[in-house]
Amino acid sequence: MDPFQRKALAYTALQRLWVNLDPESAEIRWQQEFAFMNLPDALKTPGTWYQHEGEAGFIEYYPSGDAGEFHAELPAGIDPASIVVIPKVAGFPSIYDRMKGLLLETVAVQGEANVQRMIADMDELRGSSHAGRIRSMISGDGFTALMAGKQAIADFLGSKLQAFSTVELQRNRVTGFEAGTVLLLYSLFRQLVTASPAAPANLFPKMFDPSCVPSLPEMTSRFIHDCFAAGMGEAANQAIDDIRIGGDATLAASRALLPGDLDPGIYLDSYYAGLQQAALRYMAVRWGWQSVLVFAALSPEDRQRAEKRVNAVEEKLVRCETALMYAVKDLDGSRYRDYQHSVRDARAAGDEKKAEAILANIFDSQFFYPNALKEIMSNHAG
């Protein structure tokens, strides 16, 4: 693999992380991840509780040693004196800085004008006007389609979904969350047009009503509320669940990806690209159910079901997001080798159960690599 390709893979790994939810939250998570990695090993003990310097809330580091959970309050029984405060690390480059640096290193190949345009897109995505611009675009074009009939709306949402979830996402022109939200609108629309009894005609224009909402996700959330208020809750539930089924299928296909003759770096890049597609679907599902929960007149059973669905999809989403972060940390393959050594050490000590647990944690509990590498890692670990 030549240096340009290596830089391209590093860029795409960073870029997926940066756009997945939104740049701001990615940067915060990135800085916190680095601050945690910077702690001495003696302080990185599974089961320990942490707090980021200057931040509210606490993090429980799970016994598996590769994930944690945020708690707004310290649960009873945890000694506040035992909390490890993770200090901020000054001067650690942001994801944006790294992406921009990589782009500038490729001017000779990509051309100055192209690189500057890409940087301008990044600047727009993280700018304060981006969310409003996307909301207005979908709203304006959606209203135009509305005038032309239901097929025009379906065509409009289908084409936007296609663009947002692929090219626009890769070019830093939309976030994964925005792409997921268009998917949510598209799925809602498909359910509503086939619903029986039919959805009230005055419901459809509300889909593209931009008033008093700052972003596309907020506009979509309010529309879900409108669906429930109009008695179309079942259609909305089905629309959200259709996306969950699509997310599960996308995730399963990614995990089953075979290496074939692909270069290992490109193979893994394809795998993580698949995880990103699953993640944007899961974000749509989580947002969908969270929006359902806002509807005050929800029955207790429906509320319980929606709460359950939020939790269930978060289990999947967190794993996809953790793997996208892991992809950046393992660009040089060093973590893969570390895990392989751990499996080998466990086997050398006669502890096959531990070796199996390490493999299961990497491949079955977490999604660090596609399933095809499980046997390869296991066999090469001796």
Binding site: Y62, P63, S64, A67, G68, E69, D241, R244, I245, D248, L251, Q304, E307, K308, V310, N311, A312, V313, E314, E315, K316, V318, R319, K353, E356, A357, A360, N361, D364, S365, F367
Partner: protein, 155 residues
């Protein structure tokens, strides 16, 4: 069957549960579940299947059917969660041995009973989980349970 074969079956079911684990855990237990949690659930589902199989196929007066079987499976999953890890392993070995004996003694019943138990397990799991996921996991539990029963019969 050996304890290694039972471990293998639990592990295969845990792998199938994987990221769907949130479907089978209470909403107030909001956390990122790990491999150990998946193994516990894998054991619970396998235990429920084998116990229900043995109870249903072993009855003199006909098999447990319908809601009675569903309730039985649900009770087994609940009982499993109150056991320690050692108790779980011992209970699984005992019930696997008992179920294998019945499968050998009544081979004509094995297919029909495992069909009924799979449906009951899917029904129980479906009270918490989405239907497609509940059916997929129940089918995997049945596959692994039948391997255990076949291994026991061969021994």
């Amino acid at each position: 069957m050996t304890s290694a074969e039972l471990d293998q079956a639990r592990s295969a079911i845990a792998t199938e549960i994987g990221p769907d684990i949130g479907e089978f855990t209470p909403p107030n237990e909001k956390r990122l579940f790990g491999w150990d949690d998946m193994l516990v659930l894998g054991g619970a589902f396998l235990m429920a299947f084998l116990t229900a199989f043995a109870a249903s196929a072993g009855r003199e007066a006909g098999t447990l059917l319908g809601k009675a079987l569903v309730d039985y499976v649900a009770g087994q999953i609940k009982a499993w969660r109150s056991k320690t890890s050692e108790e779980q392993s011992a209970a699984l070995e005992n019930v696997a041995a008992a179920a294998a004996k019945i499968a050998v003694a009544k081979p004509e019943l094995a297919a029909a009973v495992s069909d009924a138990v799979e449906k009951s397990l899917a029904s129980v799991l479906g009270t918490d989980a989405e239907t497609d996921i509940a059916h997929r996991i129940a089918a995997k539990v049945r596959d692994e349970a039948l391997k255990i029963l076949a291994g026991g019969a061969a021994a």
